[in-house]
């Protein structure tokens, strides 16, 4: 007798048929109810933040897409204990009547999911999830007020979400009077907790204000305090262009779908049509590499043929995707943004040139506010942003924070205990702009650790760090110069008296002689109360992506007029001086349309490689030199840019 025969035979518990009776579609809304932590509603405090955040992000995206300078009002009122009413009102384009229920009460409905374009929201899950949460915790419907233009009627809609069908349930829909020309107001009532600190709503709005200098915001907190942030820039961010997927970033399933959807097209034509940067010649060589007949009808391609195509797409050399789809904030505006939150300090910023990970273009920017009203001995405040949205949770899991921790800030004259943030009156701003931000989870709290991202973040931090160090040194020098000068000036009258008496000259005569000699021994320059941020020169690979001249808003030309003059002069100077980085600058302009996928070839990358390899070992002297060069190159670069604007 074998052992197997001894054990009892397992009893069948159900049949395929009986199981089928229990199988039914799971609505997304239902899924959410059970998994709300995935979307950032895990606890009452976070729920309040996420609600505000989703509404504000939506408003900002809508305004920018419509080309309207956003003016937002956020009001949070405590209805009863742990129950808040959140109202977010914008001056956006409004929403047409038919779409209102779907946008606010249907999960996974939106305009942003289907395209590759930089935006704050991505999945279209946010605001409806907030509505769902509100409904689940208080039973109150979502209230929407929207108006699409002057002279048109505003609509007031009350909604509920049918969680089983993932369908909106319109409770009330009426025409109302609204004195606004256009805009949308969303009101939600939810259970939540209002709290301050890094993860609070207040911090979120303060940071949003930094990353969106063009935003005008009025915020009424549950405590009844009203904060007003007037617009710091009249310039709307350049509109992000939608792009087609890049061959290097495509997934097999997506490729399958593309091919199936490409009716009446050959495989070659389908590749050219569906991808960015794929020319007919390139498509031909991809097909050849994959062993696929280029003229075979795309929908007829076999699974294994598509698999081979997918492999070939990943291997073939392709130009990087156009960087026009990524909109950085820009160095000047980062400084303008930082000034809204941190006062009286020095500001530094640097915007990296576009780079690519898995076929997705991205730009990293960094800003530093130093001194002023920032606390002296505290660890630096780190402000993380992805597509201008503040990231407040999970700093430890985020690639951005990691880059800040990993950098040796002692190289830049700051103190930094082991494994800690640098200490000092400093705030570090880091912005990652990308068509597709690789978050670690759907809650969009932390950025995943892609080596390409980490590298760019580190380089941006280093650029800012260098400028900060330079300025700190210059300042220390000027401070000590001022002290020296003060000392001499204090004693000169005494010498005037005694030497005057001894030599029979007037006191004033002697003093005059000494004062005339003084400039030979001290730098007479007064230390400025605040060093202008342009002191170090903007980073190479300047503010906006090099491929598109920025489209300034109507107010911005005037705003910039005095600067332009200066810049023109600088430009002239730059022309006169053969900068040692002339070659690199040329390489920059050669990048006109795209970033090279293999960046090691450009002179700039070499310089960077040297810099990062040098790391902490470089002497401070060498760094000063390097900084100087940077600024020179930066200046001439800036000149070029402004010429473009003119």
């Amino acid at each position: 007798m074998s052992v197997a025969e001894l054990s009892p035979k397992p009893q069948r518990r159900a049949t395929a048929e009986s199981m089928a009776q229990k199988q039914r579609e799971i609505s997304v809304s239902e899924f959410f109810t059970k998994n709300r932590h995935l979307l950032g509603f895990d606890n009452p405090a976070k729920a309040l933040l996420t609600t505000v955040k989703e509404a504000v992000d939506n408003s900002l995206d809508a305004c920018e897409e419509a080309g309207i300078l956003p003016t937002l009002a956020v009001e949070i009122t405590e209805v009863s204990e742990n129950r808040y009413r959140v109202a977010v009102e914008d001056n956006g384009p409004g929403i047409v009547k038919e779409q209102i229920p779907k946008i606010f009460a249907k999960l996974l409905y939106g305009s942003k999911f289907h395209r590759l374009k930089q935006a704050r929201g991505q999945q279209g899950i946010g605001i409806s999830a907030a509505g769902l949460y509100a409904m689940l915790t208080t039973g109150r419907p979502i209230l929407i007020l929207s108006k699409t233009g002057k002279g048109r009627a505003a609509r007031r809609v009350e909604l509920r979400i049918d969680t089983r069908k993932n369908q909106p349930d319109v409770l009330k829909d009426e025409q109302v009077e609204w004195d606004k020309d256009h805009g949308t107001r969303v009101e939600l009532e939810l259970t939540g907790t209002y709290r301050g600190g890094r993860t609070g709503v207040d911090a979120y709005l303060e940071q949003s204000v930094v990353a969106n200098p063009h935003l005008e915001l009025t915020y009424r907190s549950p405590k009844g305090e009203v904060q007003e942030y007037p617009r710091a820039s009249q310039e709307l961010p350049r509109e992000a262009q939608e792009i087609k997927p890049h061959p290097h970033g495509v997934e097999l399933g997506m490729l399958l779908k593309m091919m199936q959807d490409s009716d009446h097209m050959s495989a070659k034509a389908a590749l050219v049509d569906n991808f960015s940067r794929v020319s007919p010649a390139l498509a031909q060589s991809i097909c050849e590499r994959a062993g696929v007949k280029p003229n075979k009808r795309a929908p007829d391609l076999l699974g294994e043929e598509i698999e081979r195509l997918h492999k070939a797409l990943g291997e073939v050399k392709v130009l990087a995707p156009p960087a026009t789809c990524v909109v950085p904030i820009g160095e000047e505006l980062i400084v303008a943004g930082l000034k809204r939150r941190f006062h009286g300090g020095q500001y530094f910023s640097s915007t990296r040139p576009p780079a690519v990970y898995r076929g997705n273009p991205f730009v990293v920017e960094c800003g530093i506010a130093y001194g002023g009203d920032l606390p002296l001995e505290e660890p630096a405040e780190v402000l993380r942003f992805a597509n201008r949205v503040p990231l407040q949770y999970q700093p430890k899991a985020c690639a951005i924070s990691e880059a800040v921790y990993e950098l040796n800030w002692r190289n830049y004259g700051l103190s930094q205990p082991r494994g800690s943030l640098p200490l000092g009156p400093m705030a570090i701003f880091i912005h990652l702009a990308s068509v597709w931000v690789p978050f670690t989870s759907e809650a969009k709290e932390a950025v995943a650790h892609y080596p390409e991202l980490l590298r760019e973040i580190t380089l941006a931090l280093q650029e800012c760090g260098r400028r900060l160090a330079q300025s700190l040194r210059a300042r220390a020098r000027l401070d000590s110069e001022a002290k020296r000068r003060g000392l001499f000036e204090r004693y000169i009258p005494e010498l005037g008296m005694s030497i005057g008496k001894i030599t029979g000259r007037t006191r004033a005569d002697v003093e005059k002689l000494f004062l005339q000699a003084l400039p030979h021994f001290v730098n007479m320059k007064e230390p400025p109360p605040e060093l202008p941020p342009t002191e170090g020169g903007p980073a190479d690979g300047a503010a906006a992506a090099p491929d598109l001249p920025p489209t300034p808003g109507p107010g911005s030309v005037e705003d910039k007029a005095p600067k332009t003059k200066k810049a023109a002069k600088r430009d002239g100077e730059a022309k006169g001086t053969a900068t040692p980085r002339g070659k690199a600058t040329k390489a920059d302009s050669a990048q006109e349309e795209a970033v090279k996928v293999t960046p090691t070839k450009s002179a700039r990358s070499k310089a960077e490689a040297v810099e990062s390899a040098r790391g902490g070992r470089a002497t401070s002297k060498a760094k000063v030199k390097k900084g100087g060069r940077d600024s020179k190159a930066g200046r001439s670069k800036k000149g070029e840019q402004l010429k473009l604007i003119e």
Binding site: Y491, E494, T503, A517
Partner: protein
């Protein structure tokens, strides 16, 4: 004999000469400033690093190292300013024909700098070295700048002197003695009649008082002198003059400790900070009478008078062992004796035997036995 009038005239001539030096210093500074050079005063360095012991002259001499005191230099600006402040005050003194103490000069030059909370000088400790700097810088002595230190020191003995025109009989000075002025140059002090056969300098006033009361100086025909510690410049100059002009041997009696020995050393070969005056003040033939460590046994002193050497005594003694002017065998032995014995004694220890032991036994016996060190 010089009359008061001729003394005044000589004095005025010297004052004029010093005034010229001060003015030259200031004019040179102005010339430098005009050329936009950093105005600098060249001052010989008064520190151990710039003194040497001359075997030939048996003196501590100033070397030729010079420090440049610049105005446009953060660490020197204040001292530069102070130097001219003192120079200016000296000019006032010279022109008015008045002399004053260095303490007085400190107050003359001390004031709050206009518009600041800083003082030109905070302490006399700051102004004294500036005066010495000026002395070497101008190659003018303190008295030529019309300055003097607070007088300190008393003298009695069988001698008549003329002090600024006043005739003084030093054998009729009662219990207090004649107080030695700060300036004892021949244009101030003139030796007239002298029956003295030697000079006796004692460190302690109490011992001087004992010897004076016992009329030691009358019996042994000596000039009895004390400064109550380190000999002042006036006293040293006077001792040197007595030694060189009147050929009187000089005996020094000090406490048996490194500090006492150094008092003798300064009388003998000069000090480090005033090395530039050694030629005028040192008395290389001065005889070290005691107290010596071996006196304890020789005079059968009791154990009660021993004082244990302190840490700083030992440090000082070791420092002195390294000075070139203590390099001679007898001095090395003397200092090492003390370090080995581990105790020190005051001169007053002699009174433990008898109140007049120092007068009746100790000094006479030492001198007659030629029991001294040079």
């Amino acid at each position: 004999m010089a009359t008061k009038g001729s003394l005044d005239k000589a004095r005025a001539v010297r004052a004029q000469k010093t005034l010229g030096k001060i003015e030259a210093l200031a004019l040179e500074t102005l010339r430098q400033v005009k050329r936009a050079d950093n105005p600098a005063l060249e001052l010989p360095i008064r520190a151990l690093s710039n003194v040497a012991f001359s075997e030939k002259h048996r003196l501590i001499e100033l070397g030729d190292k010079v420090q440049s005191r610049e105005f446009f230099n953060v660490s020197m600006a204040k001292k530069f300013m102070q130097t001219f402040l003192v120079a200016g005050a000296c000019k006032d003194l010279l022109e008015s024909g008045k002399t004053t103490s260095i303490r007085d000069l400190f107050y003359m030059t001390k004031h709050t700098i206009k518009g600041y909370s800083e003082n030109t000088f905070d302490d006399q400790v700051e102004s004294d070295p500036i005066i010495e700097d000026l002395e070497v810088g101008l190659d003018a002595l303190r008295e030529e700048l019309h300055l003097f230190a607070n007088k300190k020191g008393s003298m009695v003995g069988p001698m008549v002197i003329v002090d600024t025109g006043d005739e003084i009989d030093l054998s009729r000075m009662g219990s207090g003695g004649w107080s030695v002025p700060s300036i004892t140059e021949d244009y101030v002090i003139e030796f007239k009649k002298s029956e003295a056969e030697f000079v006796m300098l004692v460190e302690k006033e109490a011992v001087w008082h004992r010897l004076n009361e016992d009329k030691f100086w009358r019996k042994h025909k000596c000039l009895l002198l004390t400064c109550g510690g380190q000999a002042t410049r006036g006293a040293r100059r006077l001792i040197q003059r007595l030694n060189s002009e009147l050929k009187l041997p000089v005996y020094v009696l000090v406490d048996n400790d490194p500090w006492g020995l150094y008092i003798y050393s300064v009388v003998k070969q000069g000090s480090i900070s005033l090395a530039y005056e050694s030629m005028r003040m040192a008395c290389p033939k001065a005889r070290f009478l005691g107290l010596r460590t071996r006196d304890f046994k020789e005079f059968k002193l009791s154990d009660e008078v021993k004082i244990e050497l302190l840490k700083e005594d030992i440090t000082r003694a070791k420092q002195m062992l390294a000075y070139p002017w203590f390099a001679a065998k007898q001095w090395q032995e003397e200092i090492n004796d003390q370090l080995e014995a581990g105790f020190k004694m005051e001169i007053e220890a002699l009174s433990n035997k008898d109140i007049s032991f120092v007068t009746d036994v100790y000094i006479p016996q030492k001198i007659s036995n030629k029991d001294w060190l040079v």
